[in-house]
Symmetry: C2
C-alpha cells in the first residue's frame, strides 16, 4: 500500500468514505466481506465493520495503527458519528457507489453532510505500485509461468479444454500455493481460439490444432496474467505468419510502454503493424494489473494519459479469424524510466518453442 | 428464467436497460463478460455485446428468439439506436448502476431520453424460482451434500483447515462436476469457529475440537449453501447444550418459512429461543439463494415482506462465543403453500451423527 499524502492533500474534501472492497483492503489490509473506511486528508484511517469481524478487525487495527469502530444497526449510527467528529463534507467513490447506495448514504449521513463525488480516488493511487506490490506481482507472475510450464506436458491428443484448465488450476493451488485463479483460465483448441474470451468446453485436442491458453493466478492477493499460443503438430503456414505478426506487434507495442509515452501508443503501433488485418484485433492492447486482474490504466487507442514509473500493465495484442483460429500473446511488464519495460512473464514465445510434439 | 409478462406490464417505463451480469444471464442465457440488454414491456429482448462475443451471441439469440446488436465503439451508438427505435423513457437498475455509469448513460443516451430509476426489477422476478430453477437448485444442494459427506472422512488429527477446504473443492470439481464453489469454503477448527466468516488457515485439527464447515457449490450456474458443525473427539457439555439450542432455533425458525408469514418471523423466533444468549447470534436468520449465493429476500428481524411459494432461502441461525467456539446450522429450503418448507440439504445434523471418531 502506498498512501501518498501529497496526493491526498491535492484533493478537495477532508474526508473520504471508501466502500469498495479492493480499495478497503488496499488501504487497511482488511479483507472481510463487510467493511467501510473513513480516510482523512492527514492519512488517518477509521475502519468500520460489523460484529462478525469484531475480533479480526480489532487485532488488525491495533497492529496497523488505525481506529476500529463497530457499526451498530441503529438508524442514526452514521449521522451521530459524523456529527461527533465534526465531518461536514465527505468524498464518495462515484465509480463504485450505486444510485441506491447514494440515496441511502444521503439519508444515513444526514442533511448536514455534503457528499462530493470523486472519481478513481484510490484507483489512481493503485496505478503506481509500491516496491512491496512490485515484488508480489513478480512472484505471482513467476508462479503463473511455472504453472503453465507444468501444464504444457499434458497437452496430448484426446485431452479436453476443460481438463487442461483444471490441471492448470490444480497445479497452481496444490503444488504452487496460489490462493486462487486470477480469472477463469481460457483454454481454446482449434477454431475455439478465435473466440477471445472462450470458456473451456469438452473439445478434445487433435493433431494439427492450434492451442491458446490465457491464464493467471492470485498469490498474496496480487494477480498475474499471461497468454501463450501453441501448435500441436505441424503448424500451417497461415498460422505461422499470423503468429509472427502478433509477436512483432507485441514486441514493438511493448517498446512503447515507457515513461513519457501515451497509454494509446502501444495499441496504435500494434494496429499499424497489423495493417490490413487490423480489424481482426478486436480488443485493446492491454490493461493495468494488481489487486484486480483489470485495473487502470487501460491501453486502448482512445486512452488518455501517460505511462508513469512502476505501473504494471499487460501487453496482449491478438488476431482472431472467426471459424479458423485466433492468436494472442500476452505478458505482464513494469514501466521503467525512458527504457523498455521489464517483462515479468518468462514463458518462451519464440515459434521454435511453442510447436509441440 | 421466468419472465412474467404480467409483472412487466405493471411497471412504468416501456423499456428497461439491464446492465447487471447476473440479470443479463437470467434474461438471455448470455454469460459473457460484457453485455447489455434492452427489455421491452412486451417481453421482447435485445442483447448487446462487442466483437469478442459476436459469434457466441449471434448463435444464442438465434436459438432463443432474441435480437442481437453489436455495440460499435462510435460515440453516438446508443443515441442513434434509441432514436431509431423511438425509445424515450428507459428504466435503469438503480441497485447496480454507479454514479459514474449514470452520468455516462445520460450522456450516451442523449438529452431526449429520460432515465427512470427502478429498484430490484429483475431481483423481484428472480426471488421466485421457476420449475427449472428449482430442479437446478436441488441438484446443486445434492452435490453439496455429497461433497461434504465425502470430505468428512478426511477430518483427522493433524489435517489443516486449508487442506480440508481444498479437499472439499477438489471433490466438487473433479469427482462431482461442479463448475466452481459458490463461495470460499469456511472451515474452522476450535475457537476459529467463533468467527462467522473465518477464512481457513494452517490451524491443525486436534482431539476434542469443534469443527464448522460452511460450504456451497455452483452447478449449472445455480448455488447451494449449507453449514454443518462437528465435534472431533468427546464434546463438552457446554458445546452440546449450545448445539442443541441452535438446532432448536433452526427447526422452529424453519417452520416459520411458509406462505403467509413475514420474512422476519424466522429470525424473531430464533432470537426468542436463544433467550439470554441472543446477543451471540450476530447475523440474520437467512437469505435467498439462486444464481447468486446471496439474493433477495433477506430474512432478518427488520425484513419487510412475506414468503411466497417457490422462494428458495437458507435457514442458518448461529451462536458465536468469542475465543471459545461458534455453532451455525444451515440448510437450503423451498417455501411451500401453508406448510413447512421442503429442505434441500440432507446432511445429518442430529448430535449423534456429528460427533466424529
Amino acid at each position: 500500500m502506498l498512501l501518498d499524502s501529497l496526493f491526498l492533500k491535492k484533493l478537495s474534501p477532508d474526508t473520504f468514505f471508501i466502500s469498495n472492497w479492493h480499495n478497503i483492503g488496499y488501504l487497511t489490509g482488511f479483507w472481510g466481506s463487510f467493511g467501510k473506511v473513513l480516510l482523512f486528508k492527514n492519512g488517518e484511517i477509521i475502519l468500520f465493520s460489523d460484529a462478525r469481524y469484531s475480533l479480526l478487525a480489532h487485532k488488525l487495527c491495533e497492529k496497523n495503527g488505525m481506529e476500529y469502530v463497530e457499526i451498530s444497526p441503529k438508524d442514526n449510527f452514521w449521522k451521530e458519528f459524523l456529527e461527533r467528529k465534526n465531518i461536514k463534507i465527505v468524498g464518495i467513490e462515484a465509480d463504485h457507489v450505486t444510485l441506491s447506495q447514494f440515496q441511502r448514504l444521503k439519508k444515513v449521513f444526514g442533511k448536514n453532510v455534503v457528499l462530493k463525488k470523486t472519481k478513481n480516488l484510490m484507483e489512481n493511487l493503485r496505478k503506481i505500485k509500491s516496491e512491496e506490490e512490485i515484488s508480489l506481482l513478480q512472484k505471482s507472475a513467476v508462479l503463473n509461468d511455472l504453472a503453465l510450464q507444468k501444464t504444457i506436458p499434458f497437452l496430448k491428443e484426446g485431452v479436453t479444454e476443460q481438463e487442461i484448465a483444471w490441471i492448470f488450476e490444480k497445479i497452481t493451488r496444490e503444488e504452487l500455493g496460489a490462493e486462487k485463479l486470477a480469472f477463469s483460465t481460457i483454454v481454446a483448441f482449434g477454431k475455439n481460439s478465435a473466440i477471445p474470451h472462450h470458456s473451456p468446453i469438452s473439445q478434445k485436442l487433435q493433431k494439427n490444432m492450434p492451442v491458446l491458453i490465457d491464464c493467471g493466478v492470485q498469490k498474496n492477493k496480487y494477480c498475474s496474467d499471461m497468454t501463450r499460443c501453441f501448435w500441436y503438430g505441424k503448424p500451417s503456414v497461415e498460422w505461422i505468419y499470423a503468429y509472427e505478426l502478433v509477436l512483432k506487434a507485441q514486441k514493438e507495442g511493448m517498446q512503447k510502454i515507457q515513461t513519457g509515452n501515451s497509454f494509446s501508443d502501444p495499441d496504435i503501433i500494434a494496429r499499424e503493424i497489423f495493417g490490413e488485418k487490423e480489424s481482426y484485433f478486436t480488443h485493446s492492447f492491454g490493461h493495468g494489473v494488481g489487486l484486480e486482474i483489470h485495473e487502470m490504466p487501460s491501453l486502448s487507442a482512445l486512452s488518455k494519459g501517460k505511462f508513469l514509473k512502476n505501473m504494471v500493465v499487460t501487453a496482449e495484442p491478438g488476431l482472431y479469424f472467426p471459424e479458423k483460429f485466433g492468436i494472442r500473446i500476452e505478458d505482464m511488464c513494469i514501466v521503467q524510466e525512458k527504457q523498455n519495460p521489464e517483462c515479468f512473464s518468462k514463458s518462451p514465445k519464440d515459434i521454435s518453442k511453442i510447436v509441440l510434439c
